[in-house]
């Protein structure tokens, strides 16, 4: 049971996403992604380094797993990186503050509670 879960966790953490940025292929392990945000036609993925790629938030969201939560139109956040949620923002362990749209407060807290 515990081993199964550990194995599952490992395979989850090892999952890599591939992005094309500046004509180069970049591989990013999913668990390294802290959050991603929209800027115009691009999104910036904050992982070990920051990576700006031309894609939609939705197409990124489809490649991520249940550890990630969509915050309104402009951001996706890794639930395991959240240190606290106030009425107005999500604070991450690295100190980043992500603005919380109206009405999203309960949703993100529920998502944290429902995490395995």
């Amino acid at each position: 049971m515990v081993l199964d879960r550990a194995a599952q966790k490992l395979s989850k953490n090892e999952k890599l996403l591939h992005f094309e940025a500046g004509g180069e292929m970049v591989r990013v392990p999913i668990y390294r992604i802290r959050y991603a945000e929209v800027s115009g036609n691009y999104i910036t993925i904050h992982a070990s380094t920051d990576l700006t790629v031309k894609m939609t938030l939705r197409s990124l969201e489809e490649q991520l797993d249940e550890r990630f939560y969509r915050v309104g139109r402009s951001a996706i956040v890794n639930l395991t990186q959240i240190s606290r949620v106030t009425k107005t923002e999500i604070r991450l362990s690295d100190g980043t503050a992500i603005a919380l749209p109206r009405g999203a407060y309960d949703g993100v807290n529920r998502a944290i509670i429902n995490m395995r």
Binding site: L79, I82, R84, T86, Y105, D106, N109, I112
Partner: protein, 220 residues
Amino acid sequence: MGFFSKKTEQQIASYQRELIETHYREVDNMYRQMRSWRHDYRNHIQTMKAYAAAGDWEAIRHYLDLLDENLTAVDTVIKTGNPMTDAILNSKISLARSKDISVSADAYIPVKLNFSEIDLCCIIGNLFDNAIDASMKLPPEQRYIRVYMDMKNTQLYISFTNFTAGKKMKKEGRLFRSTKGEGHGLGLVNIDAIVDRLDGYISRNSEDGAFTTEILLPQE
């Protein structure tokens, strides 16, 4: 705490004093039980030796059963990793059981809390008291309280569920109206004030036959 009236603050202070006294009584009680066990140990051995010498196996079996029961009573204590939480949970669990409420408690606090233990005890104490009050409206065989505490990543998660005699209740703001009438519901406001101060999250959910409170408290 400027948003409380003087009277409310006094009530909170007296409630907290009461909590601390309860802890001391509980810890004292546990030591007493353990001391009495050590004291009786030699007597138990003597008694069973005597039964053994007489070949009275039935009596030994009976005696062992009694000891087993007795030990279970001493041993059904919660060990969360946080001594003050242990004290309040254990004292509330024994209080609930003395009122014929079955309690299932699963609680782990693997971190050093970053806020005052008094706050946590105030939350747990109030939640437990409310759950006990609600349970008493049910016949004994239907009384049930479930306590669950663990980490959700870096946040402490607390969940209390109790069975209720009532139908789903209506919410007023984020609170349900105190069923104890005007001038009550202090415990609820008290919990909310602590959760707000700690940047935490609280959710209350009323269903037909059950009531759940869930809380997240940031630890980093």
